[in-house]
């Protein structure tokens, strides 16, 4: 960790690429948002994607999670060697893609625990594993809730209904911890969090780090990266990755602002 891209590269190429994004173009409502994104994430790596508002960060996350409202107009994405763009959202999830939503949706009438067990069993079924009954599920669920310092009472409440902003974000990380994805995409998980909640969320993520799990941490601010140390930082500007580097790039951005990338690369931020 903390190594610059160059010195790390030799080792990097020997590891397997988990996610390969090649020249990805996408649009929504007729507006082109992604204009040729290239990115390779190997197993075990943490990549941060930074960028100004409207640069396409959340669109990239949504496309990877297979949200149908975003239309892919060019390029390809391989996940674990398979064509991700051919998958439905549920297939992508079963293959190991997880999106922590920027704005987790409230679903009245569906209990948190029930929902999560249903999701876990859908994924286990896909993998050919036995389904978990409530007795297997609950101890695990409670343990992970404790890790995220969540009130057990939230367990039987409807999904995200009446949750505070911090509780919603923690609930996303809790789901990630239970579903154990290969690739976790955190879409501005830090937005709206106070420093305590940020620390708890980051701790949850760090506990999940492993050699065969990768993270794509999308954020507007450098602050989150104090807690979740990335291996690589990319700057997305106007639908393209304008700059890539190590963690020091995030600090430089914080100091100089996104305007600086414009001067450096000639791309308007």
């Amino acid at each position: 960790m903390g190594l610059a891209g160059h010195s790390f590269r030799g080792e990097r190429e020997r590891r397997m690429a988990l996610l390969e994004i090649q020249d990805l173009h996408a649009r929504v409502d007729g507006h082109e948002i992604l204009k040729g994104v290239n990115l390779t994430v190997n197993a075990g790596e943490v990549h941060s994607i930074m960028g100004p508002n409207g640069s396409g960060k959340s669109t990239l996350a949504a496309v990877l999670a297979r949200r149908e409202t975003f239309e892919v107009t060019g390029g390809r994405v391989l996940f674990n060697g398979k064509d991700l763009l051919e998958m439905d959202p549920e297939e992508a999830a079963c293959e190991g893609v997880f999106l922590a939503f920027q704005y987790p949706v409230e679903i009245p009438g569906i209990g948190n625990a029930y929902f999560l067990r249903t999701a876990m069993n859908a994924i286990r079924k896909f993998r050919g594993e036995d389904e978990l009954d409530a007795m297997d599920f609950l101890p695990l669920y409670k343990e992970r809730m404790k890790l995220l310092e969540m009130d057990e009472k939230l367990m039987n409440r409807s999904v995200n209904e009446g949750f505070s902003g911090g509780e919603k974000k923690r609930n996303e990380i809790l789901q990630m911890a239970m579903l154990e994805p290969k690739l976790a995409i955190l879409d501005e998980t830090d937005s709206g969090l106070d420093i305590d909640a940020l620390r708890i969320v980051a701790q949850g993520v760090n506990t999940m780090r492993s050699p065969d799990r990768s993270f794509l941490v999308i954020t507007h601010y450098q602050r989150l990266l104090d807690y979740i140390k990335p291996d690589f930082v990319h700057v997305l500007v106007d639908g393209k990755i304008a700059m890539s580097g190590g963690p020091e790039l995030a600090l430089e951005l914080e100091e100089k602002g996104y305007g600086w990338t414009e001067a450096e690369t000639g791309v308007r931020a």
């Binding site: 297979r66 439905d88 549920e90 949706v105 679903i107 929902f115 999701a119 859908a122 999904v159």
Partner: protein
């Protein structure tokens, strides 16, 4: 007879009703007491004079009865079609206190289960109860009294032509009396089976439930079909709740898609009563569900809870009329509708607050999910307030499955059909949460889940409906 036929034909009413009335009068000439014969005759005259309503009638604006009116439904004599126990096994309610089974409108003691009746519950067929009043021998476990005092006194044949038709033509139904203070924990199941066996039959079940003061009881009235023939069920239930009684009534409509079902529940609530009406409409081709509580004593509370789920060409019409006649009463109406394909739902929520009913607290909510562009809901609140210190609120919403929620579930690995099913169920479950009787709730839950599974699969094959909230209206009034 010939001239009578000519008259009814001229007014466009099928003469099968007249024939049925003639047959009934002939067969019951010896048994019916004078007051009952008079009740029938007055009701018949009313039906004969008025006939079926048209869509010009404000109360029937959204429901066209032309097909019902021109179909020559016939009554079927007792034992006209044989039904055996194996055929109705699947309709039973697990955990019921007892079960009364009616085949084509006639009580079938062989298929019924009245063993081990709980203390304080008297139950038998209404016809049995009337007959024993005449011959002096009550059916086992039943001591009917006060039938004359109650039957036909609440459901108004003058106001409602279907009540008139039922009052003239009823052949049987259930009679229940729950003794003062008795707590009947398990629900009573009344099963009405239409089994025309090739014929288009009509039935007019009539039920009288007398819950004496401080008694507790739950009753499930359940309509089913054997076979695919069209049948016309026109039921009237009068439920009288004595002071401080706690009563739950459940209506389940799960007949075949050719069925016509008009049911009227008239609740008469004394002081301090707590009555709930739960309606779950899943089947039937044309259904009209009338619920009419009259809060006739201080501090009475009623809950009017319902779920209607329609697909294909189903037409499900809910007509609520809540009458606040005395002060300090509360009423809550919650109806949720889910409509797919070309199904048409109606929610008509009328609240009448009489002059003396000060401190009334009445609330009405109707929420609807439309799953296809061709599904339709007409929702109509109607407040008539003659008192000056009351709180009445009403609101209605119309929406679709939210794309955001669907994507959230799918992004966690839950397959599209299952995700839709979960969302539909979550919408429907609000209605289940309001049911207090556990056995009844579990029974309803099973039926609803089964229905929604079919609907979710249907939607998957039909493709995605739009995701925008098509129209949402909500309004609140305090007056």
């Amino acid at each position: 007879m010939r001239s009578e036929k000519a008259i009814t034909t001229a007014t466009g009413k099928p003469n099968t009703y007249l024939e049925a009335y003639g047959e009934l009068l002939a067969s019951r000439r010896e048994q019916d007491p004078v007051w009952l014969r008079q009740l029938r005759e007055d009701a018949w005259q009313r039906f004969h004079a008025v006939g079926f309503p048209t869509t010009h009638d404000e109360d029937w604006r959204f429901t066209n009865l032309a097909t019902l009116a021109k179909t020559p439904f016939r009554r079927l004599a007792k034992d006209g079609v044989a039904v055996v126990a194996e055929q109705i096994g699947k309709f039973r309610v697990a955990g019921a206190a007892c079960q009364l089974v009616f085949i084509n409108g006639h009580f079938d003691p062989r298929l019924s289960d009245l063993t081990n009746l709980p203390k304080g519950l008297e139950i038998c067929s209404l016809l049995g109860a009337i007959d024993c009043g005449m011959i002096g021998a009550a059916p086992e476990g039943c001591a009917p009294e006060g039938i004359e005092q109650h039957l036909g006194r609440y459901a108004d044949a003058e106001r409602d032509v279907f009540v008139a038709l039922n009052t003239a033509l009823w052949e049987d139904g259930a009679y229940l009396r729950i003794r003062r203070g008795a707590v009947i924990e398990k629900p009573v199941h009344l099963l009405y089976v239409s089994a025309g066996d090739g014929a288009e039959i009509m039935t007019h079940p009539r039920t009288l439930i007398i819950a004496e003061p401080t008694s507790h009881v739950s009753v499930i009235e359940d309509y089913v079909s054997i076979g695919a023939e069209a049948a016309f069920s026109n039921a009237v239930t009068e439920l009288v709740a004595g002071q401080d009684a706690v009563v739950s009534h459940f209506l389940v409509e799960r007949e075949n898609l050719a069925a016509f079902n008009v049911s009227t529940l008239r609740l008469e609530q004394a002081r301090g009563t707590n009555v709930a009406s739960h309606s779950v409409l899943l089947g039937g081709g044309l259904v009209r569900n009338n619920v009419h509580p009259v809060l006739a004593g201080d501090g009475a509370e009623c809950l009017i809870n319902g779920l209607f789920v329609g697909a294909g060409h189903q037409h499900l019409d809910n007509y609520m009329m809540v009458e606040h006649a005395q002060p300090q009463c509360g009423s809550r109406q919650f109806y949720n509708g889910i409509l797919d394909d070309r199904a048409h739902g109606v929610f008509h929520g009328r609240i009448v607050v009489h002059k003396d009913a000060q401190k009334t607290d009445a609330k009405q909510t109707n929420r609807n999910l439309l799953l296809s562009d061709n599904a339709r809901i007409d929702t109509k609140p109607q407040l008539e307030i003659y008192a000056d210190d009351v709180k009445c609120t009403h609101g209605a919403t119309i929406g679709q499955i939210e794309d955001e929620q669907l994507f959230y579930l799918r992004s966690r690995g839950i397959e599209d059909t299952s995700a839709r099913e979960l969302l539909l169920y979550a919408f429907a479950a609000e209605c289940l949460d309001r049911m207090q009787s556990e056995a009844a709730r579990e029974f309803m839950e099973g039926l609803i889940r089964e229905r929604l599974t079919v609907l979710a699969r249907n939607r998957k094959s039909a493709g995605l409906a739009g995701s925008q909230e098509e129209e949402a209206r909500s309004w609140e009034e305090v007056g």
